[in-house]
Symmetry: C2
Subunit: 362 residues, 2 copies
Amino acid sequence: MDCVTRVDAFAAKMGKYDLDLALLFDRDNIRYFTGFRLNRVVSSILAVSRNGNTTYIVAQLDLKRAKRDCWIEHVIPFPEDTPNYLASLAPLLRGSPRRIGVEKDTLTLAQMEYMMEIAGAGVEFVDVRGLTAQLRIIKSDEEIACIRRAADVASRVMDKVRQEIRPGVREAELASWTGYLMGKEGAEGPSFEPFMMSGENAWLPQRVASQKALKDGELVLLDMGAVCDGYCSDITRTFAVGEVSQEQKRVFQVAWKAQQAAIEAIRPGVHAFEVDAAAREIVEAEGLAAYFPHLTGHGVGVSVHEAPILDKGVDTVLQPGMVVTVEPGVYLPRVGAARVEDMVLVTTSGCELLTSAARDLV
Amino acid sequence: MDCVTRVDAFAAKMGKYDLDLALLFDRDNIRYFTGFRLNRVVSSILAVSRNGNTTYIVAQLDLKRAKRDCWIEHVIPFPEDTPNYLASLAPLLRGSPRRIGVEKDTLTLAQMEYMMEIAGAGVEFVDVRGLTAQLRIIKSDEEIACIRRAADVASRVMDKVRQEIRPGVREAELASWTGYLMGKEGAEGPSFEPFMMSGENAWLPQRVASQKALKDGELVLLDMGAVCDGYCSDITRTFAVGEVSQEQKRVFQVAWKAQQAAIEAIRPGVHAFEVDAAAREIVEAEGLAAYFPHLTGHGVGVSVHEAPILDKGVDTVLQPGMVVTVEPGVYLPRVGAARVEDMVLVTTSGCELLTSAARDLV
């Protein structure tokens, strides 16, 4: 089973960093290693010891299902709805680990203080985010198959939502319609709160769907994605409501052209900053550099936003098996905003588009 | 404006606890104090000084909108997509605060270490979660009006989804349909990933909607809620698919009767554990105590799950203006599961049901 290989690879890295134990709290890391799906508001903890032994600690309510469905043999419960749920960690912490791997961007101060109290002084908390990111950045064939499914669902849904773009319909209604269509197409759910933003909301940008109705002459962005078998997709399209101006069309063309240039730059051996630069050059040549205020892309996998980041100053070298979004955007005040976002797989010879929804404005 | 009063009340509490500065990272606390909506994957930080001065730190992309829409005058940006986004805190941290209030269940180890580096040694991080919970536990009339809207949306949607319960339809499809209907009814979005669980999935319980289709003779639970103007609702109903057995009907009747008993127990001055006990007594009298493995209820507000908790051992005294769910459940292996969950407002004389969707099995 693929998850076993992942844990073994992680345990091998733990040895190199002289870690006795790793306690993982991040739900995406946990899903990556366990393959087990939990409701997103529910917590669990994965303990990995240096020899690769694993203990999975789940809420009492999830125990039966985890024992039935998860490959990990040692599953223990923590009590529901108590601040002392970490007490289940005591036997592991009293095993006198000296260096404990944790995700420092996930572990909270409360969790750390509680663990220090149980483990006693002298325990060192070491960040393992780099180690898990290293593992997750290259996708296996099995993972790529899941990502393809998630990308296909998002592409099909995007093409359907395009049909619903018309004056009078509200951003929030279309955003929630997007969510429904993904469920209907077999997704576990959306990979993030889908958002549609139109007119001024788009160039601000707003980044949430509001109760505003679409109006004739506006550019509209829909950014959304699905989760299939634990893997995410992420796609954005820009639509015109009725007739739009030449200047709005230009904003769209620049954003799309920048995206195409970035995609053309993607192949193994290229640095992340070079892909970003390919997009930025196009926008700059049009005198719009100031209106492209974000990154060009990011990795996608179990998390909708993970390594590698495609941005200025990022020197990650692209390798086959990486999956990234490419999504330069132009947000021109009082005119409109445009962004075309696709998912791209880095292959041995170049790259392959994973998302396929129509890209034109109308 | 209500948010100003909230910040002033918080700053007064800070004085009592000798805090120089509070740095809030929890999105629900931030929404409570700012009234400002952000996409849920986007971070922001609210700094409150002891004299009530506030600085709101948002991502560069959200700056224009925050300046336009948020009541806080001092809004500053942090750069997007950089691990150094906390650098924006430097001027505040160098103001030599000695005691900084933080949410210890939200602040991560990475954030704390970064702040300690800027602030230097000798800074004490003090948990303010108790202070914000104290403020948020009693809802103002304005807040209750928002919660009523969220409860109304959830009730209307629940009654509509009830019509769709039939053999062959998949859990995930109905869960996503629920999300769509909430958007159509004017919600910002769901208050949590709605889940439907049927048959064995329900009594395990599964707590996520799967690709399983509903089957004749099953009990089905739908747990969902909406967000309106930043406030959450939370409601569960149990449905029968076609004909169900006497034993399944009994499971449902026990769960519903337990819920009614708990609701009848709610009035000002009663302890949380007494409400819980009222529900548990009913389930116990039926010999089903072992199959009611969770709390009886929880507070609802800006967070879908907040204080007060209605459970064994919780001695919070109920007061007018508290809003809680009441949701005892019975999960009987190989038979079925049932839970009826409503939202209740504690009033000066007793309580008032906020959710109204039909409660019967068919």
